[in-house]
């Protein structure tokens, strides 16, 4: 029981550490965080119970347990650090339904995701031209054309992350780096690209920022 107790303890610690360190903010939607915490606590208690009840004759290591122990240790040691641009490039753009009241917010309080939702439901860009914009997101490289400023939304976990991106008229003096997080203040403008009129953020101020603690949006 010593080995099983140790493994359960390790997994319990891994889950609790993922919650405590804020890693879950990068991996799972908020509604699942409590579930992971409770599971970590239960595993921790089970591990302690088995260790206290240890028998004289212990069983041998089995390969599945060894594998699981190594993976738990790796999860504990190696924090997740995904390339947001790679994730976004791999996924189709399709956003979940908007949270309530998203559209009634004044323009300068809209997040990037809320801007994208608004522009999809109301595709005429002239209706929002001149509106003030204050957003933050990561630089999403495009196979053709200039990079977008983007955010990822999740319904469950990183596996189902879906990108929402906005075109930006990047100033010549600024060279956006892929995956770099930026805060942009400016106005919404309209440009014709590939024979289509599209909304474009015209920045007045671009500030590099650290990745937010909660980079994923619902």
């Amino acid at each position: 029981m010593l080995k099983r107790g140790t493994l359960l303890l390790l997994w319990g610690l891994t889950l609790l550490w993922s919650l405590h360190s804020g890693r879950l903010d990068l991996l799972l939607r908020g509604v699942f965080h409590g579930l992971v915490g409770v599971t970590g606590l239960v595993l921790l208690m089970l591990g302690v119970a088995l260790l206290l009840k240890r028998e004289k004759q212990d069983e041998r290591w089995r390969w599945p347990w060894l594998l699981s122990g190594v993976m738990a240790a790796l999860v504990l040691i190696l924090p997740p650090n995904p390339s947001f641009s790679d994730l976004a490039s791999n996924r189709p753009q399709g956003l979940p339904d908007p949270p309530e009241l998203a559209f009634v917010l004044p323009p300068e309080q809209r997040s990037l995701t809320e801007w994208v939702r608004l522009l999809r439901s109301q595709p005429d860009p002239d209706l929002v031209a001149g509106n003030p914009v204050r957003i933050s997101g990561f630089v999403w490289r495009q196979p053709q054309g200039p990079p977008l400023i983007a955010r990822l939304t999740v319904r469950c976990c990183l596996a189902d992350a879906t990108p929402a991106g906005l075109a930006v008229e990047w100033p010549e003096s600024f060279s956006p780096q892929t995956n770099q997080w930026l805060a942009i203040e400016g106005t919404m403008g309209v440009q014709t690209r590939k024979e289509r009129r599209i909304p474009v953020v015209i920045p007045k101020n671009i500030t590099p920022i650290a990745r937010p603690e909660r980079p994923l949006e619902p």
């Binding site: 099983r4 599945p64 347990w65 997740p80 390339s83 790679d86 791999n90 399709g94 976990c157 596996a159």
Partner: protein, 318 residues
């Protein structure tokens, strides 16, 4: 290097989201073993090949968990000697026929009433068909060796010879204590066995999540969705997507919402039906239940069934 870091993050996301459901499934299986000793109620389960999977499928309403949580419960049913049709009916239908999944499907698609009817009925139908298909195989070719040995210890000697009980008689590692005579096990014994079962399944879940994360990172999802409106191709593409993405059935409807507008209705239903039965994350977990041949039959049978249902929906709605 960026791609590897992304795969590592997807792996962690998939795993940390699935572990609570796996623990829930093992806990329910353990609780059932402790509170309801096998024998009495297992013997009352119908053995009729059609009725058995129907009862199993309906038992899904008692376990509000995704597909990972159902594996330990189905394993416990089989090990306790339940009719195979009941256990497989439960295994394949319960990930959809449970209150949480039905509620999430309704929440994601409130304006598509046909889907709210088609998803549970489709899952029910597939579970019965797959169970009927699998029980055609003899137990020795269907069930994983360890499970078969455990199951035989639970079956009366009037049903099989003494030599068929190959485990727990002579040699081999000592089997965990079992309640053969319907006697209740001690709580700590059940806890001990459940911990062992959880760790065994966890290792297989880890393997499944590794495969799913690697495939997701290197296979652009936009390729699969590019076929969009082509009836048959869209169904096949979304079936492949369901296998690759490996998200829980409790949230897959919200994921499908993201691309529902780009695909045919049959493809949408195919995504919601196949994922809870066959996905990369489940591949390892199924090995504690079935032999590779039976897993292959399940994957092929489920795929064909889903393809037919999807085609029929497209003929009806397009």
């Amino acid at each position: 290097m960026d791609k590897l870091a992304t795969a590592w993050a997807i792996f962690q996301g998939l795993l940390l989201e699935a572990v609570p459901f796996l623990l829930l499934g093992v806990a329910i299986a353990g609780l059932a073993r402790w509170a309801v000793p096998p024998g009495a109620w297992i013997e009352r389960l119908p053995k009729n090949p059609v009725l058995a999977p129907i009862i199993g499928a309906l038992m899904g309403f008692a376990l509000p968990a995704c597909e990972c949580g159902n594996v330990p419960v189905a394993r416990r049913l089989l090990a306790s000697g339940a009719p195979m049709g009941t256990a497989f009916g439960f295994l394949f239908a319960a990930p959809v026929l449970n209150p949480i999944v039905l509620a999430s499907t309704w929440a994601a698609f409130p304006d598509q009433p046909w889907l709210l009817v088609a998803r549970p009925w489709g899952a029910f139908l597939l579970a019965i068909l797959l169970s009927l298909l699998l029980v055609q195989l003899p137990e020795t070719q269907l069930l994983a060796t360890a499970l078969l040995e455990e199951r035989r210890m639970s079956q009366p000697l009037s049903n099989l010879g003494l030599l068929q009980r190959s485990s727990g008689v002579i040699g081999g590692s000592p089997s965990p204590p079992r309640s053969i005579s319907g006697k209740r096990l001690k709580a700590f014994q059940v806890l001990d066995q459940s911990c062992r079962e959880f760790l065994d399944l966890l290792a297989l879940l880890v393997l499944g999540c590794v495969i799913a994360a690697l495939v997701q990172t290197w296979l652009p999802r936009s390729w699969l969705l590019a076929v969009g409106g082509a009836p048959t191709a869209s169904i096949l593409a979304l079936m492949l997507l369901a296998v690759v993405v490996s998200v829980c059935s409790s949230v897959d409807a919200f994921l499908a919402l993201g691309f529902a507008a780009q695909i045919t209705p049959g493809a949408l239903l195919a995504f919601l039906l196949l994922g809870p039965i066959v996905d990369l994350k489940l591949a390892g977990l199924f090995t504690v239940l079935m032999r590779p041949r039976a897993i292959l039959i399940t994957a092929i049978g489920a795929s064909l069934g889903v393809l037919l249902i999807g085609q029929w929906i497209n003929l009806w709605l397009l």
